[in-house]
Symmetry: C2
Subunit: 242 residues, 2 copies
């Protein structure tokens, strides 16, 4: 039986990896991943072999990892978690053609969790995670989720809030949430979590609407109880003061 680890390595700093992720990569002779993430891991595991594919080539990347795992131990690396918008699902789908490859999914700290820790504690209560990328999801579906998540008073975490071709998507998402959330809702965003150039900001939902962010940014929109305390974004545990 050969082994393929699908590894979520967290935000990208060495300390943000789990001990299991560190061990899985150490055990592997080959690391397969998107170019930028392979560069991050080369700093910590310079002695490994790497094979990289371009950002949108997830299917090719997974097939490459499965092929190689027939002959050696391979880690297919994902930033954050290996499941949340990651490649674990695709690997399990495609693995049906590689019955001799044993797949182990190694979870990691996703950007909702690592970004929350940078901002304070915005996710102490119920929340929803929504990607604004409409590459694989119709925009109408994303809009419906934003609307209902706002109506449900979830704290909302937005992944992929922007890209070259979607410069106005965050503004559109904020406009939809503003139908149910107050313009003074406490929000925050974190850029380059755990990496060089990390920065975070706390602002209101109406300010967020007019703030340009890039694709390396994770956005947090508070619930009706979220507060700014000492420069941190904090959602209380519940609605009764205990």
């Amino acid at each position: 039986m050969s082994r393929l680890y699908i590894v979520g390595f967290g935000a990208g700093n060495y300390e943000g990896m789990t001990i299991a992720a560190e061990r899985a990569i150490s055990e592997s002779s080959l690391i397969v991943g998107y170019t930028v993430y392979a560069e991050l891991m080369k700093k910590y595991f310079p002695e490994k072999r790497y094979e990289v594919t371009a950002m949108t080539k997830e299917r090719d990347r997974v097939i490459l990892a499965l092929e190689r795992a027939q002959n050696e131990t391979v880690s297919l690396i994902c930033s954050g978690d290996s499941g949340i918008y990651g490649m674990a699902g695709l690997a399990l789908e495609l693995a049906e053609n590689y019955p001799e490859v044993d797949i182990e999914i190694v979870p990691g700290v996703t950007a909702a969790v690592s970004g929350a820790a940078v901002l304070g504690a915005p996710l102490t209560h119920d929340f929803a995670v929504i990607s604004l990328s409409d590459l694989l999801t119709p925009w109408e579906k994303i809009e419906k989720r934003l609307m209902l998540a706002a109506e449900a008073d979830f704290t909302v975490v937005l992944y992929n809030p922007s890209s070259k071709n979607r410069a106005d998507y965050l503004a559109r998402a904020c406009d939809i949430m503003l139908r149910h959330k107050s313009p003074v809702t406490v929000c925050g965003y974190v850029k380059n979590i755990g990496r060089d150039g990390e920065e975070s900001h706390i602002l209101t939902l109406s300010e967020l609407r007019d703030t340009p962010v890039d694709m390396f940014t994770t956005v947090f929109v508070g619930n009706s109880e979220t507060k700014a305390i000492g420069g941190r974004m904090v959602t209380p545990r519940g609605y009764r003061n205990v």
Copy 2:
């Protein structure tokens, strides 16, 4: 300046901790936590001093940690992440009275993420996390969130699905979601994630409705695209086949 780490240690196995969490606890002379979690950490850090409080005494626990952190380095430990239904928020609120204590929040792998990896890849697309505990949240608010999350076709992760006094809450939650989700929606649950006695099951939403679970269980209700593949719960990345 003295230091208080609010540490999420993941599911409870040593490998599930981040390297940062391992270092924070190693650096601390005192570990403060709920009795059961302190017992888990004693296995890995037997040389530390521990002070424990009962499960519902979060406020006392945080104040104890802040008091002690005035004189030594302290880790306040939480299972999973330190923010998600954790104590980071309460610590930031109460820290206003302890300006000389420097607080560092160390994120961890929350049960939604570690449980998902056990089941397969149920969180490849947008999802919502909802606690069924009505200790601090009115049940009507929980019901509304369940209903809207189901209508939005989120994969839904349920924390605290049951307790002695809330034996029928999971059934009630399923009934609400069944108004918008099909009875054959693929669901899963994981008990004792990463600990002795870990077990996982995949079943339909209508079967889940009639399944008793305990408070150490995390429940996953798929979206309309979630499938069972080779005994694993897998949500595709999007709605177009790419």
